[in-house]
């Protein structure tokens, strides 16, 4: 069973309505929509636009501007590896290569079995315990090949 709710226009209208009292509600709405569906479904864009009295283009523009908003469902687990400078100084690129090899995908893609989405992230703010990773919501520091393999194994099962 999916961790996410199935698409529903009615539910989307509810989500929007719950945020209408906020100033500048679009970002919180998109976060809430993504929390519900795991991504921002294409169908959501005209609904949000209508409810906020914006054009579809405006909503589409915001969704596509931010790296965090997904256009499609991620794998069952999301493994983010930090590739910013501090992590580079501690050899994160070798770990990225290793993860890509183990999962058989490039950074930014989901493994063929749909279990793991591998993503780059630019800084988790754990720069003194680099290299860093995040598996779903969980942060991991002092990553090395052994700990990475463990994380991948955990994500695959």
């Amino acid at each position: 069973m999916s961790r996410f709710e199935p698409w529903s226009e009615e539910r989307t209208v509810e989500i929007v309505a719950a945020h209408l009292h906020l100033e500048g509600p679009l970002m919180p709405i998109l976060h809430a929509v993504q929390n519900a569906y795991g991504h921002v479904p294409e169908e959501a864009i005209p609904v949000i636009a209508r409810e906020l009295n914006l054009s579809r283009a405006e909503v589409h523009g915001v969704v596509t501007f931010y790296h965090e908003f997904r256009r499609e469902l991620p794998g069952k687990h999301v493994l983010k590896l930090c590739r910013a400078e501090a992590c580079q100084s501690m050899g994160c690129e070798r770990l990225v290569e290793r993860a890509e090899e183990r999962l058989g995908v490039e950074c930014g893609a989901t493994s063929a079995d749909g279990r793991v989405t591998l993503e780059a992230v630019y800084c988790l703010g754990l720069c003194a315990t680099a290299p860093s990773a995040m598996l779903d919501g969980r942060v991991v520091g002092r990553l090395d090949a052994g700990r990475l393999d463990q994380l991948i194994k955990e994500a695959q099962t």
């Binding site: 500048g24 976060h31 931010y66 965090e68 400078e85 992230v121 800084c123 003194a128 315990t129 680099a130």
Partner: protein
């Protein structure tokens, strides 16, 4: 007697197992029938020691670190659950009295005074440790006097630009009353090598709330937003818990401490766009738009959030304010050098033995920070380059290690202190690769509004590929230099405008990595 044991909740500690250690300690205490309270404090900032477990004896705290779950048994056997004197507790991970650790005694902690000591989400603990004294004084004086005090302290924007905070506040203060004004906190700490904002938001969230409340009273703003990057879920939790507690106790809301001052505060999450750390892009994002940079003027102080007068400050700037209000502008300004007054929470990161948070007065040299306090590289290989100020900061070679850490001194060496992140690279680093990365990062994160940044970064990356392939090096490096010039002077904001710093510093100080002859021996041996 209830013994208190401290295990940090800071994300950096959690990332290396603090939650598991706290759970194991709780289970061991239960098994031993010991009366133990486990406090999840912020981090002390000695991040190589995390998870740092502290026990308390008669008000003095003793540390053990880095503690793994497998160390818990031996710690229990050594007697941490018993009330006996700490001198009797022998353990290989013992570091002694935490406050007497040289890493702590060498610091001047004004902003981070409480971080790691208190329970971050306990308002009582905050108040018991001098919290809300700044607000108390702010409520007793006129708003313009608050603005003057901040101006006199010499506080400059800690986000990187170094603009005097007092002038920003004065501008918003002077806009007509009777309209909605805003305080916006820039907590979009995206620079690699920086984590001070995250640490203080997780470790002492009331401090930021107090700073923003004082700012609101000073300029007549009744609403505040903390724009927090989505990569910081732990900070979000801590801030929201603290905001709820502050509201309940009347420190936020329509009548702050029973006065006629109102201030409401809300946390808003970003969505992974580095450029939103640029203040006008951040405001667009808060309004629910694409994070496109705005042309200035108008300044945010005149037309900011929703075109209303807005103070937009970095987390650390706002967190410096409670101390300034409580102790007075002079107490703060007495620290520092030149036009850089007060202290800076410096973040030592990357390939470093003793990485962590080190708050000190401006003026310490880069060499002291890297070699002495940071202990040199973790890998044990010689230091090659140090990037100061995040992805848009310059790479400095050892020859520039005598540069004092302050705004003007770094600018004079074609660098910047930015948000005071210091990232150390050992000799395995390839500086041409780092220059290429700077362009690449800029091209990924560019908002696309101005051409020098949007196109320049992509062309820069492509040209660096040619340089690295040894293709027509001299001609292509001339293109890189030209491109950097265009980006520096033609970009709308610091993303495109500062990307030349890492690129040009890498090329200037490490030409051999770019296929140019190495610098003269005299220079290199310095």
């Amino acid at each position: 007697m209830m013994l208190r044991i401290f295990v940090p909740r800071d994300a950096a500690a959690v990332a290396v197992g603090a939650d598991e250690v706290a759970a194991a300690l709780a289970a061991a205490a239960k098994k031993a029938g010991a009366q133990v309270q486990i406090v999840r404090n912020g981090s002390r900032g000695m991040l190589w020691l995390e998870p740092l477990v502290e026990i308390e004896r008669e008000g003095t705290r003793f540390g053990f670190g880095p503690v793994a779950v497998s160390d818990v048994d031996s710690l229990v056997k050594a007697g941490i659950f018993q009330g006996r004197p700490v001198a009797d507790i022998k353990h290989p991970l013992a570091i002694g009295v935490v406050d007497e650790h040289p890493y702590m005694t060498r610091q001047t902690r004004l902003t981070f005074a409480r971080c790691g000591i208190t329970d971050p989400v306990s308002l009582d603990d905050y108040r018991a440790h001098d919290g809300y004294k700044g607000l108390e004084r702010a409520l007793a004086i006129k708003p313009i006097e608050i603005v003057d005090e901040v101006a006199k302290s010499g506080l400059r924007g800690r986000g990187g630009a170094g603009f005097p905070t007092g002038i920003k506040w004065k501008t918003v203060h002077d806009t007509p009353m009777g309209q909605q004004k805003y305080i916006v906190c820039n907590a979009d700490e995206g620079d690699s090598g920086t984590f001070a904002d995250r640490m203080i938001m997780e470790g002492d969230p009331f401090l930021l709330i107090e700073g923003m409340t004082i700012a609101g009273i000073a300029v007549g703003a009744t609403r505040g937003y903390i724009y927090l990057r989505s990569e910081y879920p732990h900070a979000e939790k801590a801030l929201n818990a603290a905001i709820a507690a502050a509201k309940k106790a009347g420190f936020l809301g329509p009548k702050i401490r029973g006065t006629d001052h109102a201030f409401e505060l809300e946390v808003r999450m970003g969505a992974g766009a580095y450029v939103c750390g640029e203040e006008t892009s951040l405001l667009e994002s808060l309004e629910g738009k694409r994070g496109l940079v705005r042309a200035k003027p108008p300044l945010p102080a005149h037309k900011g959030l929703f075109a209303q007068p807005t103070v937009i400050n970095n987390v650390l700037s706002l967190c410096a304010v409670p101390y300034i209000m409580a102790e007075g502008a002079k107490a703060y300004a007495d620290y520092g050098m030149g036009r850089s007054r007060g202290t800076m929470p410096i973040q030592l990161a990357g390939n470093l033995k003793f990485g962590g948070l080190f708050e000190t007065a401006f003026g310490i040299t880069l060499g002291e920070l890297v070699d002495d306090i940071g202990g040199g590289t973790l890998s044990g290989r010689p230091v090659k380059a140090v990037q100061v100020g995040g992805p848009l900061g310059a790479y400095f070679p050892r020859a520039l290690f005598d540069t004092p850490f302050e705004y003007e001194a770094f600018a004079a060496k074609d660098g910047l202190i930015g948000h005071a992140g210091v990232v150390v690279f050992d000799e395995t680093a390839n500086m041409a690769k780092m220059a290429r990365f700077a362009f690449d990062f800029c091209s990924i994160e560019s908002c696309g509004k101005c051409t020098p940044c949007r196109i320049g970064s992509t062309r820069g990356r492509e040209t660096m590929d040619k340089v690295m392939a040894g293709e027509d090096t001299a001609r292509n490096l001339a293109i890189i230099e030209d491109l950097c010039n265009t980006m520096k002077f033609g970009s709308l904001c610091a993303l495109g405008g500062f990307t030349p710093y890492p690129v040009m510093s890498a090329l200037t100080h490490f030409p051999e990595d770019f296929g140019r002859p190495a610098p003269k021996l005299a220079e290199a041996a310095e």
